[in-house]
């Protein structure tokens, strides 16, 4: 059905709003009250839950409801990410708003029996508060300090049905832009909102649109950057999987504003589910006349094409990305000219990140002031973080700018796994730095993170504990940049390799104090002289760890020890007199270097020891120590 006018869109919204009425109401009704009423079961279809069998849960639920004669009354849908990935697969029942965690397909018959037949929640699959052990059915503490703008529809609607998106004000912002605003007034609203690029750079989005709009040309392009290469960040993927239409709508708005009739989504080939959902969304938008010629009978024509990346981190950089779309090696080029002046095929081009775009429709509908009222002085709105690593509640969290690390890691994230001690948080991926304990209470925004030697990046937030070696982490990131350096400029190509070699030397116990100076000097030179953001930020993981964890570097260099017990060459395993001579370690030693008679203490031959730790893992008497 093609929508011909704005009224058609409004009518469709009115028709389907009923779908949404029951979802997440402020006053949910109880499970018993919901008995007999139409219900909806939303099963998380995000990547994490997908990998832990959520499609099988959907199938099992449908089959069980059919068997029990409830299929007419209870609708099962797959949604985007709920964010609470640690406890996946997750499903939510509406209108009683009950959230079930860690569901497996074999729980389904019991769940249907208890919840839908008996009318009481299945207690054992509800969230259990780790402190009070109380079971909580909805309004989980994980969501208390969160504010979902970019993720507003993820887990609320089915991403594969345009009608659900239309029912939650979908494409209303587009209609407003087409019929009630001029491109200039749209730019003003975006500038007023203070929205800045969420992909890492933090450049003001309104200014970017204005620059592209003001450059004289017969054609312009809008590109959505979905080349999310930062290891440990998965917010763009989750938005595309959970709410693809919001990105399409924002691209339409951007296209109309800057004067483009063609948009590209550049997405990693490693994201098959996101690609699949985007393809569905584009197809539906075309069917409904929201993409194509004369959209809603206006004179605006717009098409979107998906372009696949091929596994190159540097393609997240906008000039490299443009080259990749043009079908060549994804190497960055010198700026200026900026893409806003000369981008794709030499035309003015605006490149925006997925999360940035997802913020656009609500800003248009609610106004720039509303958005500018959230966050800090220079960083407005919210930011999505992919919280991962050694934290209890791994997941996707969206918080207002200015939230502290402590709130994110301890209040939302539930603290450090296995009651260990927090050591550092890494933000900004391979371009960022490690933030130590003393900055846990710093409000996070673009500026404050740079001030403490890290950066916002795309929003990966990796938590590390006492058992992580900071030198090894720096080495890990450098390995990544060496791998991903495109080779165009010498500073990055050769410099990162030298940095990696020095770090390897240090982790092998062959480092000297001169090496430490060399790391700092070389790091600063690479930052100053690299061509693009990849090289300019590649030394950050080293420089920040040297600044905040210098003692760990010194331990590796001077004392030849690894305090966290990670760097193999610096470890030594010994058997203490607690040894009962059970022979288990000797049997499991892959090098066969443990000797001793049964019932007598054993000995490790240090010359031949591989330092694999198999003996320590197997010992039942805590008789083996690593130091």
């Amino acid at each position: 059905m093609k929508l011909k006018t704005r009224d058609d869109l409004n009518n469709l919204k009115a028709q389907h709003q009923v779908l949404l009425q029951n979802r997440r109401s402020a006053q949910p009704i109880s499970v018993s009250e919901a008995q007999g009423k139409p219900r909806q079961v939303m099963v998380c279809g995000g990547t994490g839950c997908h990998a832990s069998n959520s499609p099988q849960i959907v199938e099992a639920l449908k089959a069980e409801l059919q068997r029990r004669g409830l299929a007419e009354q209870i609708n099962v849908l797959q949604t985007g990410c709920f964010g609470f990935c640690e406890k996946g697969p997750i499903l939510e029942v509406h209108p009683d708003n009950v959230l079930y965690l860690e569901v497996s397909p074999k729980d389904v018959p019991e769940l249907v029996e208890e919840h839908f037949i008996q009318g009481k929640p299945l207690e054992r699959l509800l969230y259990q508060d780790p402190n009070t052990e109380e079971r909580i059915a909805s309004d989980l503490p994980f969501y208390h300090s969160q504010m979902r703008i970019a993720l507003r529809n993820c887990s609320l609607i089915s991403p594969e049905d345009i009608l659900e998106y239309i029912a939650v004000d979908g494409y209303q912002a587009l209609a407003k832009v087409l019929f009630a605003m001029t491109p200039e007034s749209v730019i003003d609203v975006i500038k007023q909102s203070g929205l800045r690029g969420r992909g890492g750079g933090g450049f003001p989005t309104g200014v970017k649109w204005e620059l592209t709009h003001n450059n004289e040309a017969n054609n312009r392009y809008i590109i959505c950057n979905a080349d999310e290469g930062d290891p440990g960040a998965f917010m763009d993927r989750s938005i595309l999987e959970g709410d693809p239409h919001s990105v399409l709508e924002a691209m339409l708005i951007a296209g109309h504003t800057i004067g483009a009739s063609h948009g590209f989504i550049y997405i990693r080939a490693e994201y098959p589910l996101a690609i699949h959902r985007l393809e569905i969304a584009i197809k539906q938008a075309k069917q409904y006349g929201l993409l194509g010629k004369n959209i809603l009978s206006s004179d605006f024509c717009f098409d979107i094409e998906i372009k696949y990346g091929a596994g190159a981190f540097v393609c997240g950089e906008e000039t490299a990305l443009i080259h990749s779309i043009e079908g060549t090696r994804g190497e960055p080029s010198v700026k200026p000219p900026f893409p806003a002046q000369q981008g794709l095929w030499g035309k003015p081009t605006c490149v925006n990140n997925v999360e940035t775009l997802a913020n656009i429709p609500p800003i248009i509908l609610k106004g720039g002031d509303w958005f500018a009222g959230i966050g800090t002085e220079k960083s407005k709105g919210t930011k999505v973080f992919a919280l991962a690593g050694k934290v209890n509640n791994v997941g996707l969290v969206e918080v207002p700018m200015g939230t502290t690390l402590r709130q994110i890691i301890f209040d939302i994230g539930g603290g450090i796994k296995h009651h260990k001690t927090f050591k550092a948080a890494q933000t900004g991926g391979p371009s960022g730095g490690c933030i130590p304990t003393k900055f846990l209470d710093t409000p996070i925004d673009y500026e404050s993170l740079i001030a403490i030697g890290s950066m916002m990046g795309s929003g990966g937030l990796i938590v590390m504990d006492e058992s992580d070696c900071m030198v090894n982490i720096a080495k890990f990131y450098l390995e990544f940049t060496v791998d991903e350096s495109c080779g165009r400029c010498t500073a990055c190509r050769v410099g990162t390799k030298r940095l990696h070699e020095i770090l390897t030397k240090i982790t092998e116990g062959k480092g000297t104090l001169d090496d430490l100076d060399q790391l700092e000097k070389l790091g600063k030179t690479i930052k100053d002289s690299s061509l693009c953001g990849l090289g300019q930020s590649a030394p950050n993981p080293i420089l920040s760890t040297i600044e905040y964890f210098r003692d760990e570097y010194l331990a590796h260099i001077v004392d030849k020890t690894c305090p966290a017990g990670v760097c193999k060459s610096l470890l030594r395993y010994d058997i203490t007199d607690k040894c009962k001579g059970c022979t288990l370690c000797a049997k499991n030693c892959p090098a066969g270097c443990i000797t001793g008679s049964p019932k007598e203490p054993h000995i490790i031959d240090q010359e031949r020891c591989l330092k694999c730790g198999a003996c320590l893992e197997k010992c039942r008497f805590d008789a083996i120590i690593r130091h």
């Binding site: 990998a51 832990s52 290891p231 994804g330 992919a386 991962a388 791994v394 990796i462």
Partner: protein, 169 residues
């Protein structure tokens, strides 16, 4: 392999795909994706074929193929095992997982088993950080891989029945 025309000739399929594209040279990356799907990898011969078809130097095709890590010029195994080396997996023991798989398959990362059954590679973050450490076999994600026995069980699912341990031949 013979180059006689037949409906199953991958070169012909590739040509048909290229002919159907509205513009060609700009779609080199999409063409290479398609070719890799058809051939399993991108040997010299395929690269030269594409270069001739698009009327561009084969050095340019090679330049693009060698730039992007998604493209491979070596044949891959029947099943491709990818270990996630994203940061979240790294701090939760991806290195150990990688070593364990290397041990179980008897190959190093980047190699293919002699029988051509498994290839082992690493990739950066598949976005399933909640399940870290994870691996992907032929696109299916497996998470929370701490115990060697679990890993063995998963790999066994992909072995030919006769190769499974404890199964008589």
């Amino acid at each position: 392999m013979c180059d006689n025309p037949s409906p199953y000739n991958p070169y012909q399929q590739l040509d048909r795909y290229i002919d159907g594209l509205p513009y060609k040279k700009e779609n080199l990356i999409a063409i290479l994706h398609h070719a890799q799907q058809l051939f399993g990898y991108l040997p010299d011969k395929v690269q030269r074929h594409i270069a001739a078809k698009l009327d561009i130097p084969s050095a340019k095709v090679y330049g693009v193929v060698s730039f992007y890590s998604f493209f491979t010029m070596k044949p891959r195994g029947k099943h491709v095992v990818n270990v996630c080396m994203g940061t979240a997996c790294f701090v939760r023991g991806a290195e150990k997982l990688q070593q364990e798989i290397e041990k179980q398959l008897g190959i190093k990362t980047g190699q293919t088993t002699e029988d051509g059954h498994f290839s082992l590679d690493s990739l950066r973050c598949i976005g399933a950080c909640g399940l870290a450490p994870v691996m992907m076999v032929d696109g299916k994600v497996y998470g929370r891989l701490i115990h060697p026995e679990d890993i063995k069980q998963i790999l066994d699912e992909y072995r030919e029945p006769a190769l499974k341990e404890g199964t008589s031949t």
